[in-house]
């Protein structure tokens, strides 16, 4: 270990044991959220001071175990091994000792310097569970400090103990746990070999490595093989002999036998008297009473619909005033720049690139903040797990997870959401494959920015049944998203679904402090991490739609036209008309325009002409831009997405358009590449740009195939 001035401790424990609460209590506002390298697991770090000394606190992901089966568990144990914290504080939920101590066993096996923080003793006491901490400490061989993380009781004592342990260092790992004759014997064979060849010697205790080899732990076996193929193979052979033997004699796998013996050890501790349980089965805790109603067959789904709808309104409607207010600020800034700066490309870049870009980034902030607050509320109160419980049957059928429902709803499962917070909400999912499938399909929902476009097309071509068509669009979005999810889970994201076995945590009243910290750190992460990228791309898109400008002779032509109308009667109107024509010519001349034109030979299979193409390129900036760009492309000037009558009439009477082309266009809009803000968000949540690009490419190809199918079929059937 390197010499350090400040103490370095790691918090570890089961999910819901109170880790976050203790972490917040220790570090207050001095925390920093990041990711563990290469994975999307949140890493929280903070500083706390105790008796004038600084202590660096790292919050490890909550886990039930330390296997190689989940990213969180891998991250946790890799951290313990590679970073070697001075002390590991194991938060143990006293009201649920058995399962919590199962994890403690594994810390003991790993031989890390451990302190057990026995949390929630208030809850345990209420349930009549009394714990003799002295005895618990004696049996486990590590100090045990009772705390109430929520109120801060015992935290000082905990820090004192931590300091003491850091000075004395860890007691050498004692063999506390027996795993049964067969396994103990195999361990006895493996350990000397590991020690002799110093395999993984410096990082892991040999006894732990041996245990992991017997558990057939992928990561450790691979590491051992990498270090010494020949000896590694010997060890694996021995482990396989054991596995066969256990299979033959007791029809069990080594890893499960080991798990059962860990539980045996935990039970023996509990049995040996340190716990008095005055079980009061009648007063089956309030949570179960609440659950009787909340997950009831009839009431449950209705209540859930109401709560999810409430979360949705809260996110999008209640944040409205802040969104409007920010919009006004940026409009004001824009007009300031408009009047203060001299005309020219710099001004245009500042207004359309920078101010609109920053506005675009920050415009999402209120929505994201409200959403994360709402989610934190549902998460901390324990309700979110119930939603997953009730919805799992449906979502599991499509290869997703019960928890997928929330991201879908926020993205526009109730028409009018937004895929950016929707994508960010995916982080409540812990199952990697289900999570990725959700991430890739939520952008199919009809977000608020697609609505003006859908409304425009529906008003122009299907004016008789507008409401019905809008509703159908929502249903189609759900159907397509779920089917594509199923498709992905059968192909690219194939694989067993992650076990659903999970805890329904007891209902608790969330603390305000916790809610605000949660909300703020996640929002800040969006601003910091996504913001800069979004700003950059926004300027790039602006440049694409502006450059290269019209050649000077063309500009001169328009100028000449302007000169001619000086004498005309409706001067103002004529001038406006010329401006609009010039804007159209400019757009056509720009890079985006050229892309649009060059794509026409392909896009006409779906019935899109170059104007539509340009608008669709613009839609990558934000879907509502499709409307204003269409306006420019049809020389109507920039059309306000809220007020589209002129464009509706223009499209309805254009010979390129007909109901079939319109339907193909609708489908394309609904399903093609997400806007770039969403793409950036996907890259951040997926942890790699690969998936973000995949989402752009796949969705566009998919949407285009649908559009071509609709257009060709409709045309053949003569519906156009």
């Amino acid at each position: 270990m390197t010499a350090k001035d400040s103490l370095h401790i790691a918090l570890a424990g089961n999910p819901n044991a109170g880790k976050t609460t203790l972490f917040n209590n220790l570090t207050g506002a001095h925390q920093h959220v990041g990711n563990y390298p290469g994975v999307t697991v949140e890493k929280k770090e903070g500083i706390c001071t105790h008796e004038g000394n600084e202590i660096r606190v790292v919050d490890l992901p909550g886990t039930y175990s330390l296997t190689a089966y989940s990213v969180e568990e891998l991250v946790a144990r890799d951290y313990l091994v590679n970073e070697q914290p001075d002390v590991v504080v194991n938060i143990v939920d006293a009201s649920n000792l058995e399962r919590n101590l199962y994890l403690s066993c594994q810390f003991l096996e790993l031989g890390v310097p451990l302190v057990i923080a026995l949390n929630m003793i208030d809850v345990a006491e209420k349930r009549g569970i009394r714990i003799d901490t002295e005895k618990l400490s004696e049996f486990t061989g590590v100090p045990v400090v009772p705390v109430i993380a929520r109120s801060g009781k015992g935290v000082n004592e905990l820090l004192k103990t931590v300091q003491k342990v850091s000075q004395t260092g860890a007691a050498p790992p004692r063999t506390l746990i027996r795993y049964g004759a067969d396994i103990d014997e195999a361990l006895k064979d493996l350990i000397p070999v590991l020690e002799e060849h110093k395999l993984l010697g410096s990082a892991y205790p040999a006894s732990w490595t041996a245990l992991k080899i017997l558990e057939n732990d992928e990561q450790i076996v691979a590491k051992v093989m990498l270090e010494n193929m020949k000896v590694g193979q010997e060890l694996v052979d021995r482990s396989e002999t054991l596995a066969r033997h256990l299979q033959d004699t007791i029809d069990a796998y080594p890893e499960t036998v080991i798990a059962d013996h860990r539980y045996g050890f935990v039970r023996s501790i509990l049995r040996q008297g340190e716990v008095t349980r005055i079980t009061d089965q009648d007063r089956l805790y309030a949570s179960d009473q609440i659950d009787k109603v909340v997950t009831n067959r009839v009431v449950g789904p209705l209540l859930m619909a109401a709560i999810l709808f409430g979360l949705y309104s809260f996110t999008f409607n209640w944040s409205g005033f802040l969104v409007d207010w920010m919009g006004m600020c940026f409009a004001f800034l824009g007009s300031l720049a408009e009047s203060a700066l001299p005309d020219g490309p710099i001004k245009s870049m500042i207004i359309s690139g920078v101010i609109d870009g920053v506005g675009g980034v920050l415009g999402f902030v209120p929505i994201i903040m409200f959403m994360f607050f709402g989610i934190a509320l549902l998460e901390d109160s324990g309700y979110l797990a119930r939603v997953a419980f009730m919805m799992d049957r449906i979502f599991h059928f499509f290869g997703l997870h019960g928890s997928s429902v929330m991201p879908f709803i926020i993205s526009g499962g109730i028409a009018g959401g937004c895929a950016v917070p929707g994508v960010m909400a995916v982080r409540t999912l812990r199952s990697p494959k289900e999570r990725m499938a959700t991430l890739l399909t939520v952008p199919f929902m009809n977000c608020g920015a697609k609505l003006p476009v859908l409304t425009l097309i529906i008003a122009a071509f299907f004016p008789a049944h507008q409401a019905r068509y809008m509703f159908l669009a929502t249903l189609v979005a759900w159907l397509v998203a779920l089917l594509v999810a199923k498709l992905l889970r059968m192909t690219l994201l194939r694989g067993e679904s992650t076990p659903f076995v999970m805890e329904l945590p007891p209902y608790r009243v969330p603390t305000l402090k916790g809610l605000f910290i949660h909300t703020w750190e996640r929002t800040w992460q969006y601003i910091k991490k996504a913001g800069t990228v979004i700003l950059g791309i926004s300027i790039l898109l602006w440049a694409m739609m502006t450059y290269p400008g019209l050649p000077s002779d063309k500009v001169a032509d328009f100028e000449a036209m302007r000169q001619q109308v000086v004498t005309s009667a409706d001067k103002a109107e004529e001038l406006l008309r010329i401006d609009q024509l010039e804007a159209e010519a400019g757009l056509r001349h720009s890079i985006a325009g050229r892309i649009g034109m060059s794509l026409e030979p392909i896009s006409h299979f779906a019935g899109f002409d170059w104007r539509t193409n340009i608008a669709l390129v613009g839609g990558f900036a934000a879907k509502e831009v499709i409307v204003s760009t269409l306006g420019t492309a049809y020389s109507l000037g920039e059309v306000d997405p809220e007020e589209t009558t002129s464009l509706t009439d223009r499209l309805a009477s254009d010979k390129h358009w007909n109901p079939v082309a319109a339907l193909a266009f609708l489908f394309f809009i609904m399903f093609y590449s997400p806007c770039f803000v969403t793409v950036v968000a996907i890259a951040k949540e997926a942890g790699s740009w690969k998936w973000a690009f995949f989402s752009m490419g796949f969705n566009t190809v998919f949407a285009f195939s649908m559009a071509v199918g609709i257009f060709q079929l409709g045309t053949v059937l003569g519906l156009g």
Binding site: Y69, E98, D251, Y253, A259, H396, P499, M502, L504
Partner: protein, 74 residues
């Protein structure tokens, strides 16, 4: 009796968990080991997953996962 077949309100002691691998470990990690006392406390509106009470905590698992667990019912 198989856990899937148990009725709401029925209790028993886990007799065996017949699966290994990640699911087998996951089931055990959550405390569903032979000898543990459980009570089925309910099911989701669409009958799957199932909700059980063990040691005063509530766990849920899918029917397909419950299939691997045998319970000696009272």
């Amino acid at each position: 009796m198989n856990l899937r077949k148990m009725q709401t309100g029925q209790s028993g002691t886990i007799a065996s968990v017949k699966i290994g691998g990640s699911l087998g470990l996951r089931i055990r990690e959550m405390g569903l080991v032979p000898g543990a006392e459980i009570t089925v406390t309910g099911r989701a509106p669409l009958y799957d997953p199932v909700k059980i009470c063990i040691n005063g905590q509530t766990l849920t698992l899918r029917n397909s996962e419950a299939d691997h667990i045998d319970v000696a019912t009272k």
